[in-house]
Symmetry: C2
Subunit: 224 residues, 2 copies
């Protein structure tokens, strides 16, 4: 009985890692589609998000069954509750990648981001892809040093988000209202993506150490 | 033993309702502060959000303890897992109300929303306050007919969000880049507030009927 349960717990862990890999691919492709106005790639991201959503539903169902059937305590319980939380954050990260892709699809064949600030979005793409890769690695290896790197990636995304607003609100911006709105929202999606990665990272630290670094990291720094 | 457990479960339910009442006050005050440029009221909302966050942490801790100590099954398990989910949505709704208040504080003594579209935001304020009130009532009474009304309120918020973008992107908008950005983000906060209420409503329907109306209602309709 115990062996089956342990196999099931292990499976939850691998599934979370697989879900995180899918999110990693999603944000990487979404960023590329955004920067290169690649309609086909954007559509790939939009379709693939359904699989990420299905993953979350499936993981949730299994976690609740494990709670019901095994009545886990201590570490086992912590693993399952943490998995429920993390799958929810990953699902949301998938949504944000999809939103970025949806912008690219809508503006095609034009790029969604004006030339003047495409460099900042290229940096956001790099930082967001890196944060997603580290999230997968953290889930797989439980190496909590990665959590610190994830916080740094998130700080980088926050700083780039600021840069976008400085560009939008400085005197040199001459984009249309549509471009202003698009830039503000796209930038916010990348920024929120980082927040959710930090949330996953803190949950993993809790899982490994029993210590929660700080509650509610998310969105304390919404750009005003 | 069973009696204590039942008392604790009941307490979780009343605490969720109380948390929801605080969110209701937050969005009501945040909207008023936004529409009347009331700095003091905005600050009240910002400070009160800490209590909402603390509420979530406390509820979570108790839910995990109940899982560990009581190993609940069937309906009891469903109540606890649902409470974990709902408190997370309510916490996020509190954050969104705080964001609205932060905009009012930043632009004070000027209103954050230009006169031309303040009517749409007045309607958003009404719809968001109503959706929050219905969310509290649904948690308190478990009357799942309220879930349908909540979906309708959310549709209303989505439509108003569209109206804002139509105003921003139509030919008649003459706001500054700052006003364009502020309007887009503020409008998004109200729209997301409705999404989270729908998420709570669907969780409550699941709790009462065992049937989940539709997974992941949130943010399928992000304005592009």
């Amino acid at each position: 009985m115990r062996e089956i349960f342990e196999a099931e717990l292990k499976q939850v862990g691998s599934d979370l890692a697989e879900m995180s890999r899918q999110v990693e691919i999603a944000i990487s492709n979404a960023g590329t589609a955004l920067l290169t106005a690649d309609l086909h790639l954007a559509e790939t991201v939009i379709v693939a998000d359904e699989a990420i959503d299905a993953f979350e539903r499936d993981l949730d169902t299994r976690c609740v069954h494990l709670l019901a059937q095994q009545a886990p305590v201590a570490t086992d319980l912590r693993v399952i509750v943490t998995a429920l939380r993390i799958s929810s954050s990953l699902e949301r990260m998938g949504d944000l990648a999809r939103h970025v892709a949806e912008f690219s699809r809508r503006t095609y064949p034009n790029p969604a981001v004006p030339q003047a600030i495409s460099g900042t979005f290229a940096d956001m793409h790099i930082a967001a892809t890196r944060v997603a890769q580290r999230t997968t690695a953290l889930i797989e290896t439980r190496d909590i040093d990665l959590a610190k790197s994830i916080e740094e990636d998130d700080d980088r995304l926050d700083a780039l988000h600021e840069d976008n607003f400085t560009a939008l609100l400085g005197g040199h911006w001459n984009g249309t209202a549509q471009q202003t709105v698009d830039t503000a929202l796209l930038s916010r999606y990348f920024e929120r993506f980082g927040d959710h990665a930090v949330s996953v990272a803190r949950r993993m630290v809790y899982l490994v150490t029993g210590d929660f670094p700080e509650d509610h990291p998310t969105d304390g720094r919404a750009r005003l």
